[in-house]
Symmetry: C2
């Protein structure tokens, strides 16, 4: 059995960025070290609520995108005089839900804060094919150098919002919320969770730090459903939810008997979901939150919603991307 | 007309990371500042060739993914004893091309370097549904905390490799290479370009710094095709290619007359492509590189390849993701 000790050294602190050096030493005496950056948001990571809470994440996302694309410099932009001025229109070539205005703006305005961007729509708006989204005016080199990075954010985040909106519309009129997962594109967790909101979806936990989701291994390790729920309530502060995943009606019964207040029904059939809802609504005056997950598509999501579950979580909202077709016309 | 002056201050230098503060001041006196990180690779950014050149990028990608997922700590993992040992098998539920072994390994081994991972396949291998990919053994908390981040990399990068491979197979037997673009997921440029290689594709320029691609705006600004090509050759060092995008046979003729050695035929019809190939092969003893792009799908890529072009660039390789279905079974 190996135990691990972590030594964390803060290497750099700015008002916005902390750079840590982490050294871990296991009980065999083997050590390993690495560095990581984190972004300070009111002193701690907190639940994603509004775009203005994301400003630090946006800055990091954009700096990384510009750095990997521009690197030591945009060679082709040198063909354009450094004092030339340009204006351009962003058009969408298909129906979509817009998301990513702040990331798009930041790409241009990080290179030159004087770049003017006038939006005719905003995040969360439904847009039509051939619709003009915004006008960008500024230094020609800045516009040419930032164009691809800005569009890469907009086409990807709008893809997530659009995909989410299709699920939200498919369950319209039921009580079920469409919920995301941790199956996200690495490095873009916050951005994608924000895009899910723009599409009308609801965020599940942001990460492993702001919610407890008990699965099979945790149940086995703690010695059963009742002890694992008891231990979870000891660990969780008042703002942390405790959810338990069950794979059968018998497991659900055991979880409810042990006082579960939030259950995840994984890969249940429609009949099992209906029975689970009936069984669960009798408890806590109907206050137990019921979530369904597993192999849910646009084809079957309405049937799942009509079983009466409260939430439906769907990995494809954030793990599958079909980029929205955008163009920047000078 | 606004000109911009950049002031770059290096805030931090480690053997692997440089943190810069950039202040730009435009000619109106307005200033703006931001910070960005870059990763040192032999002192400069260089063309992507082999996986071992990516080790720094992998470390940054993984640190970011673990930080956004684990944050202040994995609450649920606290339900498992800190000295428990687990082993798990990664299985693929569908046919795919594998990519992302190093990112996957790094997620576990960043948390604990003693984690053992035995792979039965490697990057670039074709895998079948239900195939076992690897076995992971180590501390239970480490396995549970790194699982999602590791799978997020593997499912996304394997998606890119698999999608690329389908295009490569569709043009098998022709002379056309399948080439990527800069339409990538922000923050994952290098990782996705590596995945394209694993699928049998060829990388176009990595960013704006290692190739010149002349488009309409650059031609207009420089006063025509001949002056823009002349100026490009002055800017480009010997290891930087100069490619010019043309939108008609007349523009192609002008580019060839001005000595172009690499042309991008954007949105040409099949007939136009055939004529362009015939016209171009007469020049430079057939040494001009001909690339086609624009609205190329799995349905029409073979017809495009059979026109005789050398390269076909496709944005969807990296901008559209259909995550490969993987599971980790304990």
């Amino acid at each position: 059995m190996v135990t691990i000790r972590y030594i964390v050294v803060t290497v750099l602190v700015t008002p916005r960025i902390r750079l840590f050096k982490v050294q871990n030493v296991n009980s065999k005496g083997e050590s390993n070290s690495y560095m990581y950056c984190t972004i300070i948001s009111n002193g701690s990571l907190s639940r994603l609520k509004r775009l203005n809470e994301l400003s630090h994440e946006i800055k990091i996302n954009v700096s990384q995108a510009l750095t990997e694309d521009i690197g030591s410099g945009d060679l082709t932009a040198l063909l354009v005089p450094d004092d030339q001025h340009l204006s351009a229109i962003i058009e969408c070539r298909e129906e979509a839900v817009l998301c990513g205005v702040a990331w798009f703006n930041s790409c241009f305005q990080t290179l030159c804060s004087a770049t003017e961007i006038n939006w005719f729509v905003q995040d969360g708006d439904s847009i039509q094919a051939e619709q003009k989204l915004c006008e960008v005016r500024g230094n020609a080199r800045v516009l040419l150098s930032a164009e691809r990075s800005a569009l890469n954010f907009l086409q990807m985040l709008s893809a997530v919002a659009t995909h989410t909106k299709r699920f939200v519309e498919a369950v319209a009129g039921t009580n079920a919320a469409i919920v995301d997962t941790r199956k996200t594109i690495p490095g873009l967790r916050f951005a994608q969770k924000y895009a899910v909101q723009c599409g009308g979806g609801v965020n599940h936990r942001l990460g492993l730090y702001d919610g407890i989701l008990i699965k099979e291994n945790h149940i086995l390790a703690a010695g059963g459903i009742s002890p694992v729920l008891k231990k979870s309530r000891q660990i969780a502060s008042s703002d942390v939810f405790v959810q338990i995943e069950v794979e059968s009606l018998a497991e659900l019964e055991a979880a409810l008997n042990a006082g579960a207040t939030m259950v995840l029904l994984d890969n249940f059939t429609l009949d099992q979901l209906r029975e689970a809802v009936t069984m669960t609504r009798k408890r806590l005056n109907g206050g137990v939150i019921i979530e369904a997950s597993g192999n849910i598509s646009l084809q079957n999501v309405r049937q799942v919603a009509e079983t009466g579950v409260d939430r439906i979580s769907i990995g494809s909202l954030t793990k599958n991307i079909r980029a929205i077709d955008l163009s920047m016309r000078f």
